[in-house]
Symmetry: C2
Subunit: 331 residues, 2 copies
């Protein structure tokens, strides 16, 4: 019996995404630091995706999806359920492609994220994250209004777009022994692993999750998708109970390892980035560097790290770095 | 009777400094932001000197001076009195030039700044800023140990080094209608104005001071050096009572205007830089952008802004942005 392996995304998809994003997305800088290299005993190249449009890597996938969908067929617009960076990214991508966007956001989402989403012209529809079923609401909204759902991670075009970050990191930063990538739903690492394993197969790809939401680490250990009860963590972009249906087969096949970090380790990485490298990174965005600083990864000589996003307001940053309780988001 | 004008620094000095700094100092990035341009109605180019080695533009002047002095004559080392960015910059420059550095620091200087200075191998000697005469202590130290004093701003080699920031800004950012530069002792603006007025005479050069220490603005208004009583301000890099003896003639001749900003306007600029541009800037470093955001400068179409430094720890940043009293330094 032949085994059929369904691969959602290939290098050619990432390369096509790169073509679509050229001149639209920022080619974010790679950052090097003597201080960091001395601290961890490796040559580290950081990919600063917090400097991407909309403040995170999410713009890459959102724009790749929206521009392809609207290019292929006349659609009335796009929608998604997201409380975070995908909401802002999709709103911006839709504005640039001149289609409507409707975003389902939990009614307790941060006011700043709602405001940023609306500032791009999207309609925000509130739901109760503790009562409503967001997948059902999303399907209903899409059907009623003829909108195309753009899933935050479990969508091949979104994964391929995210993978362009790794493509640029390899082009601008040179060869790597290991690449560290934050993992939430798995779209970023699926796209990045696809690019890296095709272009530089010897490079190890390691995912980093918060301890409070270690579903991908457990799934890797078990060899199949696991579901966990997500505990409270400051890494709000990585609070997911199970890997995506479409991201999981890619992670299963291409990611070498997944490690976890504590909230304290994430804050330490954010402080290091602020005080030594002078860059702002949100908790989820700092998780991969946190693993490196904490020694959770046996470092190769040349280490790439994706800093995936930087959407955090000063009040929350202040609360986190001073240890105030207000900084912790509910799980 | 011929009028003799003593000019401490010329374009050729800035260009020689650029040659000395090539491959040693970072060529810091210029940053552009659609959000910022829309906010102020101009095309803004930011020069991110907080990403310079030692965390501020001060490395440019310190290295230019130390490398020239040690190249010209065998000296036993360098010294300076500084509680701030010049201390760290001089310590690093001395280490790179393999000479000793002794830094007089007030005993109440922030522990982090003292630690950073010592980390570069400098000897730190504490003095009482309320009792001791720092100029006298510095002269005594230099004489006793055969050290060369490298003044933080009132030294032509230091001014010329600082001017390389403007040289790069013009090269990388293109033509400017106005350039905004933070002013403390005046070394940065003297060097920048020298470069800009030689290469692009139509570009207006405008200095920005904290309201609490408006000695240069008053001196410009009066046409001669004025001395003020410095009040409390968060902009600790700009707390000087009078322009330098050597920087003043350059400022008098080449700077078009000097405007002032409040501490509240500086904090607003720091928050904008953090939340929208994702970069860390210390209070003094944000003062020029504060003036632009506050509308204190009639903007030209193309505005350059020097963000001069980023040495601030997370605790002080948190205190400043949340309005806690701990964030204000004594005057």
């Amino acid at each position: 019996m032949a085994i059929s392996i369904s691969v959602a995304v290939r290098l050619a998809d990432v390369e096509r995404a790169a073509t679509r994003l050229a001149g639209v997305a920022h080619r974010t800088p790679v950052i090097r630091s003597r201080t960091l290299d001395e601290r961890v005993g490796a040559e580290v190249t950081l990919k600063a995706e917090g400097l991407q449009r909309s403040g995170s890597f999410k713009f890459r996938g959102a724009y790749n999806a929206v521009s392809t969908l609207t290019g292929a067929a006349a659609i009335d617009g796009v929608c998604a359920a997201s409380s975070g960076n995908h909401a802002q990214a999709l709103a911006l991508a839709a504005r640039l492609c001149r289609v409507r966007a409707a975003i389902l956001m939990p009614h307790d989402a941060p006011a700043s994220k709602r405001a940023a989403t609306e500032a791009h012209g999207a309609e925000v529809i509130a739901f109760d994250r503790y009562v409503d079923d967001r997948e059902q609401l999303q399907a209903q909204l899409a059907a009623e209004r003829g909108l195309q759902v753009v899933h935050p991670y479990d969508e091949p075009l979104v994964m391929a777009g995210a993978g362009t970050a790794a493509l640029e990191l390899l082009e601008d930063g040179g060869e790597l022994d290991v690449l560290l990538v934050p993992v939430g739903g798995g779209g970023l690492i699926a796209g990045c692993a696809t690019a890296v394993k095709a272009l530089a197969p010897v490079t190890r790809v390691v995912g980093v999750e918060p301890q409070a939401s270690d579903d991908v680490a457990r799934s890797k250990a078990a060899g199949r998708r696991q579901r966990v009860a997500v505990a409270a963590t400051i890494a709000d972009g990585q609070q997911l109970p199970t890997p995506g249906q479409r991201t999981w087969p890619v992670i299963d096949a291409l990611v070498d390892d997944v490690v976890t970090v504590s909230d304290e380790q994430i804050v330490a990485a954010m402080v290091f980035l602020f005080e030594r490298l002078k860059v702002v990174v949100e908790p989820s965005g700092a998780s991969a560097l946190a693993a490196l600083l904490a020694g959770a990864v046996p470092p190769g000589r040349r280490v790439g790290v994706v800093l995936s996003g930087a959407n955090i307001d000063v009040a929350r940053f202040a609360a986190l770095v001073t240890g105030a309780r207000g900084g912790r988001s509910p799980g």
